[in-house]
């Protein structure tokens, strides 16, 4: 098999093709969106007859473009990660780390809370009726509206730092986990429940030996959604704190000062982070399920 055909057979080629296509579209969009400002600039400078190639290259190197070109973002990311000390306030790694720690803390609390609520709902009809509507209602409230309130209220009672921001992550992360776990814990087949019944197994035994293993695949799927939601929550949580640190702060500061390149770098960083986090859960999932003989 030649290396080329091996490429074509695998997933590498399609993935590379898609990436190239996205970058190409991005460039076209950058030129189109930045051209009006560039024409204005030429007009103000009384420059006429600017050749198209000049316009093209100028639209891709603006200081505050409407849409920065991919290479501008790449350069910015390079400069703020590799070329800056991690401890520097201008290092993107520093900000990413702040956001990551908020995300992980919020995710941890959110997942635990989600599992707990699900266990309650599955085992108690009263909780099912009384809690489930609230769980769903909680997600219909726009998080942007209540995020500042959570931060302010927690600050007022003396809780500051990581926790208030993590609360927003928790708020977003617990929901998919609750829904997934309720579904998972209820998924055992009747015959398996009957089997536990014939052993006169206690609820606790039925839970740990039957319901929980059944729910694990559901849990992992929910956790993938939950950790991505956590990241969004962490970024939102950073907005009302006065844009001190974190990817959210970079986004906010960037929009204050029209630093679109900075905004896009932070965005890219956030999506890379999300990708890594989801991938990590996927890896754990694969390992655990394989050891349980459930991986395909």
């Amino acid at each position: 098999m030649s290396p080329l055909s091996r490429l074509a057979a695998g997933t590498t080629l399609p993935v590379v093709t898609v990436v190239i296509a996205i970058i190409a579209i991005w460039y076209v969009a950058a030129v189109a969106l930045n051209a009006p400002f560039q024409r204005d600039t030429y007009e103000r400078a009384k420059q006429t007859d600017v050749p198209f190639s000049q316009l093209l290259s100028d639209t891709l190197v603006q200081k505050r473009p409407v849409l920065p070109a991919p290479h501008q973002v790449a350069t910015e990311i390079w400069q703020t990660t590799v070329e800056k000390k991690i401890t520097s306030k201008r290092s993107l790694v520093f900000h990413a780390w702040i956001t990551l720690s908020t995300t992980l803390l919020g995710f941890l609390i959110g997942t635990s809370l989600g599992v707990l609520i699900a266990v309650g709902i599955v085992h108690s009809g009263v909780l099912d009726k009384s809690l489930m509507p609230w769980v769903i209602a909680s997600q219909t409230i726009p998080i942007l509206a209540i995020a500042p309130m959570i931060i302010v209220v927690l600050n007022a009672v003396g809780i500051s730092g990581l926790l208030p921001k993590a609360m927003i992550s928790t708020y977003l992360a617990f929901f998919p986990v609750t829904v997934g776990m309720v579904k998972g814990l209820r998924s055992p087949e009747i015959i398996h429940l009957d089997l536990m019944h014939t052993y006169s197994a206690s609820r606790l035994e039925t839970f740990f030996k039957l319901r929980l293993p059944y729910a694990l695949p559901f849990l992992f799927t929910s956790m993938k959604i939950g950790i991505a939601a956590s990241l969004v929550g962490a970024i939102i949580g950073e907005l009302p704190t006065g844009a001190v640190a974190g990817l959210g702060a970079r986004l906010l500061a960037g929009s204050y000062y029209g630093q679109t390149v900075q905004i896009w770098s932070a965005l890219i960083m956030a999506s890379v982070l999300a990708g890594c986090l989801v991938g990590m859960i996927g890896l754990i999932e694969k390992n655990v399920l394989k050891r349980m003989g459930m991986a395909a």
Binding site: E189, I191, H192, D194, L195, M196, H197, T198, Y199, S200, A201, E205, K209, L210, P213, M292, G293, M294
Partner: protein, 289 residues
């Protein structure tokens, strides 16, 4: 096929593992039947109206009996077995198991149940599947291993203990589920078509094994089957059911010797009983027309 392997293993393990004492609810006298059913009826309330699954069932099963339920599909064999196991509640009549309610008997872990489907846990190996009830009973690791080895030997799956259920054929899975029920070492075995999914040869072999086990240990067995030879070969009592509503059409007490071998199936007494079962089934069917 003169094999007594099951018994050999049985005795060798009995030396190391003390069998748990029988249920405290067992009535003292020999007269108390293991299962006593009187005028029992069960109606399922469904969206399409009531389904009379069981109607006016009267049945006694004495200790050490091997009782088979046979009858056309849908006549309530599984339902009756499930009522005994407290997986289904009667709607009328009386039933006692070990002299007490089916619920108390279940809580005492008085019986082992083999379902119509294997119902193995996909995330547990065969060994771990058999360990499941033993874990719940609170046996030590050592006791668990001893029992698992014994029953795996009995159903000839010793080489597959580390495999997951989906790595086994359907028949092997069913054997594993039988092994799981036997590992509990119950005095009462409730088996719902345990050999339905097996080929003729394996079925003969397991019939033989089950018969030896029963003859040796004096267990009480209630057994659902569609096979007339199987019912006649194994049973001391054959209950022929007929459908709509599910009820008992005939009860045949077998006068075959307690110790049997598969050659017995050619004997005239065997064929005579088989003939009576067949007639019962036919007559039961005729009710439909």
């Amino acid at each position: 096929m003169e094999r007594f392997r099951g018994n050999e293993v049985n005795t060798s393990v009995d030396n190391t593992t003390p069998t748990p004492s029988p249920s405290p609810h067992v009535g003292g006298g020999r007269s108390t039947p293991v299962i006593d059913i009187q005028n029992l009826s069960l109606t399922f309330e469904t969206n399409d109206g009531p389904v009379h699954a069981l109607s006016d069932i009267d049945l006694k099963v004495e200790k050490g009996e091997f009782v088979s339920f046979i009858g056309p599909s849908g006549c309530g064999k599984t339902t009756l077995l499930r009522v005994i196991a407290d997986l289904e509640k009667k709607t009328a009549g009386d039933i006692t198991v070990n002299g007490t309610t089916p619920e108390n008997a279940r809580l005492d872990r008085a019986y082992g149940y083999v379902f119509q489907a294997a119902a193995l846990y996909p995330w547990r190996t065969i060994e771990k599947n058999i360990a499941l009830p033993l874990e719940i009973m609170g046996l030590t690791r050592k006791e668990q291993t001893a029992r698992i080895d014994k029953v795996l030997e009995l159903v000839e799956l010793a080489d597959f203990s580390q495999k997951f259920p989906w790595q086994l054929s359907g028949g092997m899975q069913q054997r594993a589920s039988i092994a799981r029920a036997l590992a509990v070492e119950p005095d009462l075995l409730l088996m719902d078509e345990p050999f339905g999914a097996l080929d003729e040869i394996v079925r003969d072999h397991l019939n033989d094994q089950l018969h030896q086990l029963w003859a040796k240990t004096n267990k009480t067995v209630v057994f659902v089957t569609h096979s007339i030879p199987e019912a006649v070969y194994l049973s001391t009592k054959i209950v022929v059911l007929c459908p709509r509503p599910g009820r008992i059409y005939d009860v045949i007490e077998s006068d075959l010797p307690r110790q049997r071998t598969l050659d017995l199936r050619e004997s005239p007494e065997f064929l005579r009983i088989a003939q009576r079962v067949r007639e019962g089934l036919k007559a039961g069917h005729a009710y439909d027309d």
